[in-house]
């Protein structure tokens, strides 16, 4: 029961603030609601006992990426932007895409168990305590099975860093 309360609380928070992120006119408000959504997701991670991911979400997403966003929003002028038209006239496209997505996932749920080899493959869930909330487990996996992706990710970050510096640098 407690699990359920926590899940619905965080899920509701995430969805509501996600909606507000997309609909607010003021970009800073959008960013604040996005931060709330990310924090709520972190809560979901914690509820899923992914402690390490929870703190990575907070440190990296909330403490790093979103600070960058807010920093840029402040550098870029706002009081003009608020008065401008905020939404492109693509309502129908958006509706279409989202309906298509929803239909796709709905089909997946619907077909589960009805057609062999289709839908959600729910194999036997692992026992509750199989995955202890353990950052060491993640680290071990990261540095053994996923060493190559890890290295690639670090190269990607390096490239992104250099790219960002080059992009944002003033041409003097």
């Amino acid at each position: 029961m407690l699990d359920k309360i926590i899940f619905y609380f965080f899920a509701g928070l995430a969805v509501i603030s996600a909606v507000l992120t997309v609909t607010r006119r003021n970009v800073v408000h959008s960013a604040i609601f996005l931060i709330t959504a990310l924090l709520a997701t972190a809560g979901i991670f914690l509820q899923l006992r992914a402690e390490f991911l929870f703190i990575v979400q907070i440190i990296l997403y909330v403490g790093g990426i979103m600070v960058l966003f807010i920093f840029v929003i402040m550098l870029v002028n706002l009081d003009v932007a608020v008065r401008q038209m905020q939404f492109a006239r693509q309502k129908w496209v958006a509706l279409l895409i989202s309906l298509a997505l929803a239909a796709q996932v709905g089909l997946m749920f619907w077909s589960t168990g009805k057609l062999p080899g289709q839908g959600l493959l729910v194999s036997q869930a692992a026992p509750v305590d199989k995955l202890p909330p353990n950052s060491e487990e993640v680290a071990r996996s990261l540095f053994s099975s996923y060493l190559l992706p890890f290295e690639i990710a670090s190269v990607l970050l390096l490239v992104a860093m250099i790219g960002a510096v080059v992009m944002a640098k003033k041409r003097t």
């Binding site: 359920k4 899940f7 899920a11 995430a14 969805v15 996600a18 909606v19 992120t21 997309v22 970009v27 996005l34 959504a37 990310l38 997701t41 979901i44 991670f45 899923l48 006992r49 992914a50 991911l53 990575v56 990296l60 997403y61 990426i65 960058l68 966003f69 929003i73 550098l75 870029v76 002028n77 932007a81 401008q84 905020q86 939404f87 492109a88 693509q90 958006a94 895409i97 989202s98 997505l101 996932v105 729910v122 194999s123 692992a126 509750v128 995955l131 993640v138 996996s141 099975s145 992706p149 890890f150 990607l156 970050l157 490239v159 992104a160 960002a164 510096v165 080059v166 992009m167 944002a168």
Partner: protein, 100 residues
Amino acid sequence: MLSIEHYLFLGLALFIIGVIGVVTRRNVIVVLMSIELILNAVNINLVAFSRLYGDVAGQVFALFIIADAAAEAAVGLGIIIAFFRNRETVLADEMDLLKW
């Protein structure tokens, strides 16, 4: 843990909201933020499956996605700043030239 469908529906909701944001908003910064939402929705699914199967791989992939999001945000915001310096706008539909 709750049944996996709970998490999948949450992920779907966030994903769709993110897509709507990407498609409808004019402000590039908000578009980037919507992309973050989409990535986040994917993370929820990954972590939920990781918990379901008791396999840490899902969490590892979520980590990679976060790293990816960081890279994307850095480059994207760099472009926005460079663009803003030249054109003084952050609206997507005014970015209609390949070169200026």
